[in-house]
Symmetry: C2
Subunit: 356 residues, 2 copies
């Protein structure tokens, strides 16, 4: 079955962004059309589109929308609007670095054009920005594939693999990061069972990961997040693979809340813990995980579920969206360039300098 | 505010058992009347009444209902019916030992009467059985109070206390086990914050623990189970207190699924981990936790929530109701008799032999 990624740009540079509205999956597969940056900001903020790479690609296309909606008549004015909209889109979510990375990359390509060609008009700017967004999207597809190829060997025949949240096609423009390993292992004829943590509060594991794996014909079992440790204790988990939202220079990796606990439990049970993420998820400007901003989200995500109240009115809630896995608890980082075993600042520096 | 326990017997030995239907809390406080053992079996099975001590007391009263419904005309026939109904009630849930303990204790009192008094009639048997059930209930109230008094010193001024599931008044006939420590600390004027794991799949923490603490005027915050580790890492948790459903001779303790993970995370963060439970929760007939039967519950508990589907149809589920904390990870067991620090088979044996 065809893998369905999170987003698609429809048309040429005057086109629009189409997202799968992930808030209503798996019950409803509906498309959410973004024709301006406000719609996209809202879609990112409310997790209609989520997953670090998918947010990055969406934001890149968001700057195409920014230029479409710009009332400026010349390239300089349009660039100013683009930069302002880039700041606006960057404010939608604070943790995943791919968002800032993609916005920066598109902004730089626009600035370059204006700097290089004094005569460039707004149409030329739009063409350059659209080309850069398209490049980011195409590269994301290739990157997903490469991550899977580099990491599939960690998914052995007959093993149990635990994953958390959703790092699949729905988190990228391609076939995912963590799940790409599984799709590639499956393609090679291996049988294995994926245990998908349901991932409270928004249930990306139960709703999205289970759905993707089922559609791909891979055996998947859903469990509550609290059950993962006991499953490990029973010897049912042979590898843990997750994605990441930001990886610091030393290898500390932010990912969906609950990943930190899994990493401690993995160490306790001597289970290898892999993180699969593209280069764009690395933030080499920060020394370690302590510098990563952790998004706190609204209490309502925890207290209600599709209109049903789960918590008595007036009770406080703790709802961080992410946590940080220590580099020392990561068996290997899997990128599109290759595998970094036992990550450290030095190895990460080498990895990326070699790949240039 | 008055603490509301899980159950109440209404009337004399011809009366009936009234339960708070915990499936619909905190939205609805409705009473569930049990006038026969089939109704009670269903109430235990579906978790209308839950919590090891509350199940035990309910089952004791269940044998009063068994005698009421017995068609036997003499004590011997009625005793036979009682024993049969004790087996039936014991089949409702396999893990909490208090259920078997209470049924055994009532059965033994009935057998004793028939053995001692050849002339005893059915009414005499009913009187004895009712008296024993009433004694178990009264003792449970006192036991809760004592556990709180022995353990309140572990809830220090200004501290953060994490708990999992519900080991409060709603889990007992009294003021609870783990929460009794908090009620007693609060009574002594201490301020502290309780972090209540929501406790998927059935959300006893979000629904019941949050409700009880809020009503008592104790500050409570609800978090998803996956967030507890990160909260510990932030230094916000100074003690963890849970109840237990069965404690083996060596101190290994079964409790709601997720407790095992918490115990590993507690060790990692050097946070004391306390288990509060009455003597009736100890099963000295089993050497260690490996002999504890872990109840597997239906997939629907995980896949749906109040009619809302959370998981794609056809996806498998892993849903154990309990897990087991290793004795070596328990800082202290708190019973109505006192505190067993760093529990071991020897200390537990001594504890109970001294208390006789």
């Amino acid at each position: 079955m065809k893998i369905t990624s999170a987003l698609q740009w429809i048309g040429d540079c005057q086109g629009y962004l189409e997202l799968i509205d992930q808030r209503v999956l798996p019950g409803t597969w509906s498309k959410l059309v973004c024709r301006d940056t406000a719609q996209l900001w809202q879609a990112i903020k409310t997790l209609a589109v989520r997953g670090a790479p998918a947010i990055g690609v969406s934001a890149a296309y968001g700057l195409v929308l920014a230029l479409q909606q710009s009332k400026a008549t010349d390239a300089c004015g349009a660039l100013k609007d683009l930069i302002q909209q880039a700041h606006y889109l960057a404010s939608s979510r604070p943790t995943a670095v791919n968002l800032f990375w993609a916005l920066d990359r598109v902004r730089r390509s626009a600035e370059q054009l204006v700097a290089d060609q004094a005569q460039a008009d707004k149409d030329a700017l739009l063409a350059v920005v659209f080309a850069e967004a398209e490049a980011i999207c195409r590269e994301d597809v290739v990157m997903c594939q490469r991550i899977g190829e580099h990491g599939e060997r960690f998914i052995g025949e007959g093993c149990g693999v635990l994953t958390h949240c959703n790092a699949g096609a729905l988190a990228t423009a391609g076939q995912g990061t963590a799940l790409s390993l599984m799709f590639e292992a499956h393609k090679r004829g291996r049988s294995f069972t994926v245990y998908a943590d349901e991932t409270r509060p928004l249930l990306q594991g139960a709703r999205l990961t289970a759905c993707e794996l089922q559609r791909a014909g891979i055996e998947v079992k859903v469990l509550c997040d609290s059950m993962a440790g006991w499953l490990m204790k029973q010897g049912q988990v042979h590898a843990i693979v997750t994605g990441a939202d930001r990886i610091a220079a030393n290898g500390d990796a932010a990912n969906k809340i609950g990943t930190y606990s899994l990493s401690i439990l993995a160490r306790e049970h001597q289970i290898p813990f892999y993180i699969a993420a593209p280069s764009s998820t690395f933030d080499l400007s920060i020394e370690n995980g302590q510098a990563i901003t952790i998004e706190q989200r609204s209490a309502e995500e925890v207290t209600t579920l599709q209109g049903v109240d789960l918590v008595p009115a007036g009770v406080g809630v703790y709802n961080p969206a992410f946590d940080v896995v220590q580099a020392s608890d990561i068996t290997a980082l899997i990128t599109e360039v290759g595998v970094i075993e036992k990550p450290s600042a030095e190895k990460i520096r080498d990895h990326f300098s070699r790949s240039k």
